[in-house]
Symmetry: C2
């Protein structure tokens, strides 16, 4: 194409996108109508709360509004808005519930109206709870952009009327701080980026075989299993993360994976290992093991306020139980084989967690092996593959979907299209059973992930799943090709916000292949 025409075509493309009802929002809201009027957003835009019952004592909305303004101004200096008409002076937030406690299933719905008449002209948000209002601010922020002709922040295609609510209440991302330590600033960056695509659960897989990085006041030698003296989180750090997330509408799900994936526990307390030469899984015959679990969960209950705790239970190799004499003896005395002992371990751990006020999430092997024995409020976390969720909900249990063939972010060959098209309700037609699938989660396992490459491995593929989990199924793209340019622009928006989201093309975390515009990478 002649070089001279290129920018003209880009401009035409942008123009026609708006005209042809291509809404440039991610994730796509439940219902959107818009017009064709250009508005200008005042640099001094303010937030009001006229009509709110909610009082914003903790400045949740105020701070979120400021963050939104800061993002709007991050990359370009806008001029003052010296215009007489069509100037948006602010956003009025009407939040009906006075409560500000973030909890599972909280009402996250909102209406966002951006009118073209009004004096002063302002956008209007209406939500049941402050957490719906936070989502409204995210959507509003995506409508605003710096315009290079006017040198002002603009909001195009008004009036907008958006009604929105998530399809699933659990929209998660797992991070793994055991395979590699992640500094707090890295975790906070992940949380901020989650809010941009309305993900709402940070599943913190804190501990595993390789390292035990977190402080447990009840058993202070546990974090001797950290990689080093400085690769640790204090309880104060954990409180900081939970608060940071809560202010942004993100729940933190803490996981202690038992009895497997727990080798690091024994660095501080070697009696937790079956023996010095056979160190996994945690010694089921030792009451001390369950005292430690109780101590951990007791300490967790002071910090992690989400209704759920994750107790793991996956990939349990019981050979050290049957090989180690004192455990073998215990098994005999209790008339258990290794499988019985695995079941016993999981169920006993569940009871401890329940005694601390938690409902339990377990990885799917616990369901596959002894589903009918699990506590009835157990949520089964599917990961091995498709076809498990239907069985879980048929058994009357709730399910979180994370099938590894599509939703494991460490699988670099899992494409964004695969993330987008992975349907949690696949094979589940009964509406009552469908409701038992509370949502899904993409998993950023940490074997080759640290602060240097976590962002581009998570994004934009996690955003593709975020739309699958938020947007009503009838508004999802039936063919991911029709979502490509919109996700591409969202990826570029992430970059503009300082999130190192990778190009869409190719495998996860690839470098851009060649020079070119951001949206074509």
């Amino acid at each position: 194409m002649a070089q001279a025409l290129r920018p003209l075509l880009v401009l035409l493309a942008i123009g026609s996108c708006i005209a042809a009802d291509h809404i440039d929002l991610w994730p796509m809201p439940k219902s959107v109508t818009h017009g064709a009027q250009r508005l200008y957003v005042s640099k001094d835009a303010t937030m009001s709360m006229v009509g709110s019952t909610y009082s914003d004592e903790k400045a949740i909305l105020k701070d979120a509004f400021q963050r939104m303004l800061d993002l709007m101004k991050l990359n370009h200096n806008a001029d003052d808005t010296n215009r007489s008409s069509f100037v948006l002076t602010g956003v009025n937030m009407v939040v009906h519930s006075p409560e500000d406690e973030l909890s599972f299933g909280v009402d996250e719905s909102y209406n966002l109206t951006v009118p073209t008449i009004g004096d002063p002209l302002h956008a209007q948000v209406e939500a049941q709870t402050v957490y719906g209002a936070l989502h409204a601010l995210q959507t509003f922020g995506q409508l605003c952009y710096f315009d290079f002709t006017s040198r002002l922040i603009e909001l195009n295609s008004a009036p907008w009327m958006i009604t929105d609510a998530p399809r699933f209440p659990y929209r998660g991302l797992l991070i793994d701080t055991s395979r590699h330590y992640l500094p707090l600033t890295t975790i906070k960056g992940v949380i901020d980026a989650m809010t941009y695509s309305k993900l709402n659960v940070l599943h913190w897989h804190i501990i595993d075989e390789q390292s035990f990085p977190i402080e447990i006041p009840s058993y202070p030698k546990l974090w001797n299993g950290s990689y080093s003296y400085s690769e640790r989180y204090t309880m104060s750090d954990a409180v900081d993360i939970v608060r940071y997330a809560e202010k942004r509408g993100v729940n933190v799900l803490a996981e202690i994976d038992v009895p497997g994936h727990a080798l690091s526990w024994g660095v501080g307390y070697p009696s937790l290992w079956p023996s010095d030469s056979c160190k996994e899984a945690l010694d089921v015959s030792n009451n001390f093991t369950f005292e430690v679990i109780d101590g951990i969960l007791s300490d967790f209950s002071k910090v992690f306020k989400f209704k759920f705790v994750h107790l793991g239970g996956d990939e349990v190799n019981t050979s050290c139980w049957t090989k180690t004499p004192h455990i073998k003896e215990w098994l005999n005395n209790n008339h258990m084989n290794a499988s019985d002992a695995y079941r016993y371990f999981v169920l006993r751990s569940q009871k401890i967690a329940i005694a601390h006020g938690y409902d339990v999430i377990n990885w799917e092997e616990t369901f596959n092996d002894f589903g009918e024995k699990l506590d009835r409020k157990t949520i089964v976390h599917n990961w091995l593959g498709g076809k498990v969720a239907p069985k879980v909900v048929a058994a009357g249990l709730r399910c979180i979907v994370s099938n590894q063939d599509k939703w494991y972010l460490d699988h670099l060959d899992a494409t964004w299209e695969g993330f987008y098209m992975n349907e949690p309700l696949k094979g589940i037609d009964n509406p009552e059973q469908q409701r038992l699938v509370i949502g899904g989660e993409v998993c950023m396992w940490g074997e080759q992930i640290d602060a240097s490459d976590i962002e581009q491995t998570i994004w934009p593929r996690a955003a593709a799943a975020a739309e699958r989990l938020w947007t009503p199924i009838e508004k999802l793209a039936e063919d991911p090709r029709s979502a490509t340019s919109r996700l591409s622009r969202f990826r570029c928006l992430l970059n503009q916000r300082g999130v190192a989201a990778a190009p869409l093309a190719g495998d996860g975390r690839t470098a851009p292949y060649e020079p070119g515009p951001c949206v074509r990478q």
Copy 2:
């Protein structure tokens, strides 16, 4: 090794590092002595300026001090320092010069003293200029760390007496915003990271063949060559970058590469191309070409206040000149062949820049082809390989070293050891000639670089070069293996500060190979 011993060994290793005079600073200062006393840094540490002639009107020091405190507290919440002794209450800055203008060759030296006696106990910085004081704050910041036992910010091995000054005055990093657009927030992140290893020149290769992203008020259609309507920098954005950098002691070197690497100029002004079918290099026969260069440099002179401007001049393919009839005719009329015309173009462009108050930097082909004709104040920017710098300085010209076999960051197979060991004065023994090598620069060409992968491609390899350029040659590691653990810890410090520096092992920008502590990646 038995698991239980592992953390003990790590602690021993840390202890022995300090005891054996391993200084954990990057880059290594000119002169360092220390003791063995542990100090505690007050959470409310303050900055004073008793004895300063400098008044900090622009809050350069004040803001830098606050940034340092913020970094100190970024990842862990420290307790209040309820101790009666050995508490560092602040830093006193003695800056002798009242001037705050950042210029090439400004005195960047400093002394930093952290005593163990004093009431109140405070660190002392003494520097000729505020820019030396900024470097002192960087060094001070590297001495402080969060301790997991005391839960306080600590500063170990006091008293410290550090005398420091850079070996070379020009310590640069090139970024390329033509092959891929880089959002302002990305560029600012690069600038901040530069200050951590005391790099002081950001060479902004703004424009090239693929895109023209910057506003040129004198010729407003030039940025029609941007990739898209939004992948642009206004003049206001450029001012923002220069101010941001200046406050941090970083000079911004702007480059317009002529006559090659300039295809994008013709999108807005097609007459700059030799023809519609032969578009590089810029039309040497057209006076308009030089009017545009003059306009660009005129606009630059209002924004880019560094003494130097870079006019490129590399990789010039003149075939479109000899093939295009009107240029062929012009060559004949002026009794020039293509080489003569290349020389003519470069020299005429130099004169324009000089008329706007700049001294000129040109890539080395201009020297290789017609070095004796270059303006005598030209700085030759070596990039093709080793062995050029000696010729440049023998001819009496100044030189910047960026030999591509060692210091090109886009060459992923260029190891950090290679970056570290690349000696700018190689083959130059005459002290007068050595002084003509003003420094060196690592180059982050952008063909496969955008906001998603720029940080881990730059760091830590650029930091390796930063020590080569800062530290006196006698204090550099003779074998890079003796710098490995120190650079590794610096890389982990970068990660803790939110800089996505890659592991040391393997090629540039590799992911961590397997689970493990940060310092072993």
